[in-house]
């Protein structure tokens, strides 16, 4: 093992214990001087209880505004090898599938140009390369694109879309999340690389309402798979489950609309009242499956707290067909309408969800040309402070 440049008694504590250690990971690349200094600076943070990284200074590749995040040490004289130690986001393949060769290619590229430290993956979904000098940014980018990879998003642009495992390995996928994610990413390359939005805009593609990519909480546009016909039931398999599952207690009683009945022999579902929560399907995957008339619910405006408080996405389109043959034209049209309006009227660092709250959902819908439907609200308003238009006086012929 490489000799360590700094004594790190605090970090060394974190090499102990059963869970894999990030300190061990860092030390594996300690043959690089920049990693030695990153470890030394981190130990200093552990001693002093404070971060020693600075951000800022525009760094990036020619022609792009996103994908590289400038990172500098605030102790450059003590840790000169990490005076500049930039983050690179590399757009991951849909659903994070790799071949061993593809991973080795990425490792070789990153070893040539940076620290050899990564995140697999970052919170938005990108492959994250942690730490390069400013000089290596452009050569790294050339090496990546030569091997078929491109940078992801950062700043006020469309962020790198991500998706769940979908139809590749899940029987619940109600549309092709991998294809939709890839298609949208390719369609909006300009919006991904060149920030000219008020703030970030995230897409996440979840194949069913279990939402394994947390789309409703973590994206501006959640494309969540659903169905509108009947849950497929294999009664023989239900009987098999009945040997180990208390169907009355674990299924019927926990159904949010109490639309499932069990008489000890047959499972009856009142599909008109099913809200597609997935609970019964999750508990009995061999017996129940989503229906066959599948598509997605489009929900808009989710985000973490910064700036105006956290928001979950809210329903915009209750059901949208997601046929790959359609090239997702409806989703793209809706997206462009939202971007046009928010792009023109959104304040700096105002996410779509906050913008919608500021201008009002009904005004927003009117501007993007979407009709209000009751699925969009939990309940109609309870206050009488209504702003009426003249059209209220118009009568139907």
């Amino acid at each position: 093992m490489t000799e360590m440049k700094y004594k790190t008694p605090l970090l060394d504590e974190l090499e102990k214990g059963p869970w894999p250690s990030f300190v061990k990971e860092m030390k594996k690349e300690a043959h690089k001087p920049m990693v030695q200094d990153a470890i030394g600076q981190l130990e200093r943070s552990y001693e002093e209880h404070i971060s020693h990284w600075k951000h800022g200074g525009l760094v990036g590749v020619m022609g792009y505004g996103g994908g590289v995040i400038g990172r500098y040490s605030d102790l450059p004289e003590e840790f000169p090898e990490v005076a500049a130690f930039h983050t690179h986001r590399v757009n991951q393949p849909s659903a994070w599938f790799y071949t061993s060769d593809a991973l080795r290619t990425l490792c070789d590229i990153w070893e040539r140009h940076g620290s050899g430290l990564t995140n697999m993956h970052g919170s938005t979904g990108d492959i994250v390369f942690l730490g390069s000098t400013t000089e290596e940014i452009e050569p790294l980018f050339a090496d990546l694109t030569k091997h078929g990879f491109d940078l992801g998003g950062s700043g006020s642009n469309m962020r790198t879309p991500s998706c769940c495992v979908g139809p590749a390995r899940c029987e619940w996928a109600c549309y092709d999340t991998l294809d939709a994610c890839y298609n949208i990413t390719q369609e909006f390359q300009d919006e991904l690389h060149r920030p000219f939005f008020p703030y970030k805009y995230k897409f996440k593609f979840a194949g069913c309402p279990n939402d394994c990519v947390a789309s409703i909480a973590r994206s501006d546009c959640s494309v969540m798979g659903t169905w509108r016909d009947e849950i497929q039931v294999n009664q023989a398999a239900v009987l098999e489950y009945a040997k180990t599952v208390d169907i009355e207690e674990e299924i019927c009683d926990l159904c949010p609309t109490r639309c499932v009945e069990w008489d000890g022999k047959t499972l009856e579902i009142d599909n008109a009242n099913c809200v597609k929560c997935m609970h019964c399907i999750n508990v009995m995957p061999k017996a129940l499956k989503p229906g066959k008339d599948r598509g997605a619910t489009i929900l808009i405006g989710g985000k973490a707290p910064i700036i105006g408080g956290a928001l979950l996405c809210s329903v915009f389109v209750p059901f949208l067909e997601m046929d790959p043959e359609s090239d997702y034209e409806d989703l793209k049209e809706l997206t462009e309408a939202i971007w046009d309006l928010w792009g023109e009227h959104g304040k700096m660092r105002e996410r779509t969800g906050e913008f919608i709250q500021r201008v009002g959902l009904s005004n927003f819908l009117e501007e993007i040309g979407l009709d209000p439907v009751p699925e969009m609200v939990m309940a109609p308003r309870s206050n009488p402070y209504i702003f009426f238009d003249d059209e209220i006086f118009e009568t139907d012929e």
Binding site: W19, P93, F97, N210
Partner: protein, 357 residues
């Protein structure tokens, strides 16, 4: 002549990375079954089977480790693997007989198998002091310390339901911590300190003023320099101004720390997705192992595991028993900080006499 510069190619097409058995059965999976912790099988309509072995990772991975994963995938999985949204690694096999030797080799290499079913999966987390400017605490170190204790719940399916733990090192929340069963969140607790000499050189004042969610930042002339002042009573320490302007220092070694939130979820199963709510407002940073944070998390998990019914997520359990009971059972003190005073605060006040006495 110089090579032509390649741009805007997007990610590689995923199809080239899919195992042949997935290509063959794409969209035609019939059902799946968890065979044991960390191992599941998906069975296709054709009868084909694909086995998944899931291993936890610290997210921060050296290329040395990734190359080793690639070697393992070559040896057992014809070179096929994937990563999950919670930073686990999944090895994909079609030969059932290779599962046990594969598990043995992954464990030998120091990576645990698990994270499936009613258990604690990997903690999604942020950069912390490893690589972030606005971190109120480290991320990887807290996660490592907590996961060292939670390992049995990662490797077994012994909880009432899934339990999702997430960590973010500041309010920016680069992880989805705001909708987790347990969210560990780094917090700043004091208004930033302004470096007036540097500010005009580094920052645009109108942008800085606009960055404040509560309007606490105002333009001001300080010692003849165009700068800003902060109305401290209005500041809730989000650090948004620091991200816009590095001369407004939010980090503070003495007053930064960690808060703990509970009862959020993202899935739609049974009850709608919901935010995590405040359980513990502040625990001081105590590296390298943050024992007070680990203890607080373990306490909440133990109380939940003892009291929740089967299939009940943390938030569903608390909704059933009521928040007063949650604070009673966990022994966590309820303070003035637990009562919301931001926008829409009134939505969380109890406006009924339906109480348990």
């Amino acid at each position: 002549m110089a090579e032509e510069r390649i741009t805007d190619i997007g990610p590689p097409n995923y199809e080239q990375f899919l195992p042949p058995i997935i290509k063959k059965n794409y969209g035609k999976w019939d059902y799946h079954e968890i065979l044991k912790p960390g191992v599941m099988v998906h069975v296709a309509e054709s009868g084909d089977k694909i086995f998944t072995v899931r291993a936890g990772s610290p997210r921060l991975l050296a290329v040395t480790t990734i190359r080793n994963f690639a070697d393992i995938a070559d040896k057992y999985c014809d070179g096929h693997l994937r990563f999950t949204s919670r930073n686990n690694v999944e090895f994909l096999l079609s030969d059932e007989s290779k599962i046990e030797p594969l598990i043995a080799e992954i464990e030998e290499y120091g990576f645990p198998i698990g994270g499936m079913g009613n258990c604690i999966s990997n903690i999604v987390h942020t950069q912390g002091w490893v690589h972030c400017h606005s971190a109120a605490s480290d991320a990887s170190g807290v996660v490592k310390s907590v996961m060292d204790e939670l390992m049995p719940h990662f490797q077994n399916m012994d909880l009432p339901a899934k339990l999702r733990v997430a960590y973010a090192c500041c309010l920016n929340m680069c992880g989805a911590v705001h909708c987790s069963d347990i969210a560990i969140l780094g917090v700043h607790t004091r208004a930033p300190v302004i470096e007036h000499d540097d500010l005009p050189k580094m920052c645009e004042i109108p942008t800085l003023v606009a960055s404040c969610p509560t309007g606490a930042i105002r333009p001001a002339t300080v010692d003849g320099v165009n700068s800003v002042e902060i109305v401290e009573e209005q500041c809730m320490y989000c650090g948004n101004c620091y991200t816009v302007c590095p001369a407004v220092k939010i980090n503070n070694a003495k007053t930064d720390g960690i808060s703990i939130w509970v009862g959020g979820k993202v899935s739609n199963s049974r009850v709608a997705p919901k935010f995590s709510k405040l359980a513990i407002p502040f625990i001081p940073n105590n590296p390298p192992r943050w024992p007070e944070v680990v203890e607080a998390v373990m306490n909440i998990i133990n109380v939940y595991a003892e009291n929740a019914k089967k299939h009940e997520r943390m938030g569903e359990w608390i909704d059933r028993i009521g928040w007063p009971k949650f604070f009673e059972l966990t022994g966590i003190e309820f303070t003035k900080y637990h009562i919301d005073d931001f926008k829409h605060a009134g939505e969380t006040y109890t406006r009924t006499a339906q109480l348990r006495h």
